[in-house]
Symmetry: C3
Subunit: 99 residues, 3 copies
């Protein structure tokens, strides 16, 4: 089977829904124009920050596939948001059909 | 700890909601009977194709775990859909509890 | 670029929505306090278990990032649920911003 797949880094950001515009702005600043948003519920904590919030929360999950260097910059830029907001982000290498 | 886990390839397809029946038909044709569908919003572009669409869009995310060879065939079969539709697909190796 | 990322194991559990309380109880028992829940639809089968269910179903997807040893225990504890419920679970290594 001969066909060519792209390689990239899937970055998943899960955070409070109020962060949506800020996160999209950050992605746009980095030249990331494609992303997918899914509404989510979060509970408990991913560490103390999320533990500060009681019960169920309205979160969003944003996924995007970017180059490795862009994923570095994205995670670096997301870090300061954790000071005041419940937010996690993680990344994984993927291959497939995308630009 | 002694217990046995399965290994497989998680394929995630994100595309326009109107593709849902076509994607399920494709999965069925490949003998894939198990999948999960989550409604999603997409914006901007994963490349020019998605860039043709304005603003927010109604998308779906379909996930399935298949054998490596099936994931090859699935990505190969999805390719032509990108000519006329906003669609990306990517895969990752996973292990866990599944058949 | 110098910044420090955490490493962990992303565990994704997809199962019948009726399992939600039981799954959260299991996570809590293992000391996992942070997780994300997304409503999902499942269809067909991930093996015979899900094949027993007709048509579309109301499922949930629960995601959490844990230590590797915790992911072992979690998958071990989830196994028995598969006897009576449609449930799959899989894991992947990730790095990023989380505790």
């Amino acid at each position: 089977m001969s066909f060519s797949l792209s390689s990239g880094v899937l970055v998943t950001i899960i955070g409070e829904a109020v962060l949506q515009d800020q996160l999209i702005h950050l992605l746009t600043k980095l030249g990331v124009s494609g992303y997918t948003i899914i509404p989510a519920q979060g509970s408990g904590s991913h560490g103390r920050r999320m533990g500060d919030m009681a019960g169920y929360n309205t979160n969003i999950e944003i996924k995007t596939i970017v180059a490795a260097t862009t994923s570095d910059q994205l995670l670096l830029d997301l870090g300061p948001l954790q000071a005041n907001h419940a937010l996690i982000a993680f990344r994984q290498s993927v291959d497939g059909l995308f630009d």
